[in-house]
Symmetry: C2
Subunit: 196 residues, 2 copies
């Protein structure tokens, strides 16, 4: 089936991209891995970059899925969930980029050539974030008229921690210290204003 072949291509590409890097792997190699000709690859993906984009998309979806668990965890306040979200996101991407520098190469390439892709990933996470805000609002903990908008602002304010190694050269420890400060600033701003 066509879908299985796509899967096989993705697997081969993921192996080579993370091991040797995007630039060093050729379409001919991927084709050989999948026992086909290089030209045939183009029946499954429009270009080499689209293969990389699909790999990154899956990683992004996986990250967002893992974050979704925060919505369902029982007995946590909105503030705690927000903190979980921010720190889990930071740690996940930090370790991913630290473990394999090849991913940085791919991330930079795709955000340069496919500006929409980055927004797509942000939107996925923003939905979870808006869900957390809504939970907090329903519990009377947050005063958030427009969760989607506020989620977007929180993302803007935490840009520095979304691609840690791209926007700064700080260690994870220092980043966590800063993120905690920013988190506290934000969470205080979400609290309801006192009654007049």
């Amino acid at each position: 089936m066509s879908e299985e072949i796509r899967e096989k291509i993705i697997e081969a590409a993921e192996e080579r991209f993370t091991h040797y890097g995007y630039g060093k792997t050729t379409m001919a190699e991927l084709a050989r891995d999948c026992d086909m000709s290089s030209g045939n690859l183009y029946r499954f993906f429009p270009s080499k970059l689209d293969i990389a984009e699909e790999i990154c998309r899956r990683a992004s979806i996986q990250t967002a899925d893992a974050l979704t668990a925060i919505l369902d965890s029982p007995g946590r306040t909105g503030a705690e969930r927000l903190k979980d979200f921010l720190f889990q996101d930071l740690r996940t991407t930090f370790h991913a980029l630290e473990k394999n520098p090849r991913i940085v190469e791919m991330a930079q390439l795709i955000t340069a050539e496919r500006p929409e892709f980055h927004n797509e990933g942000l939107e996925r996470e923003r939905d979870v974030l808006a869900g957390i805000l809504t939970i907090g609002r329903d519990a009377g903990e947050f005063e958030v008229p427009d969760p989607e908008f506020t989620a977007e602002m929180i993302q803007a304010a935490t840009l520095k921690f979304s691609y840690p190694q791209l926007f700064s050269r700080l260690s994870l420890d220092k980043l966590e210290l800063e993120l905690d400060g920013v988190y506290q600033l934000i969470v205080r701003g979400l609290a309801p204003a006192q009654a007049a």
Copy 2:
């Protein structure tokens, strides 16, 4: 006097760097502009990059000085000053980078080669920011135990707007809209907690 010659070199370099770019100007050209030999330049600056760094440092100081005026403007609340600070900073750097793309080249080079330089500039602005927070605290408007620390957190939260064209591809309008949202998030968090 030695200081005047340094000045002359800076002027010549500023002219050529902004007009033709850092990469396209040679030390020999700068020397000719100053009626000296290329070797003699090294009695005044350790390297070509240090000349660029000094030019950028002066621009940074000028920006910070302009921001300092916000501290002295009478009849403004702390929140208004904070907003002035953030928006003035965004607009100044946005227009500077937009007017002359050569500056982007220099900024990228220096932040890559001289990581400490960026911190130096942040620190200059942070002092003004901490001053604003202190004003707000003294007026009972903000609850800020440690203005220097909170200033650092605000800088982390507004990184996206400090080098607009480097961290995103958004128009000034869209950036201002986002900055306003982030500002409101922050300023609500600075308000004193209600009495128990």
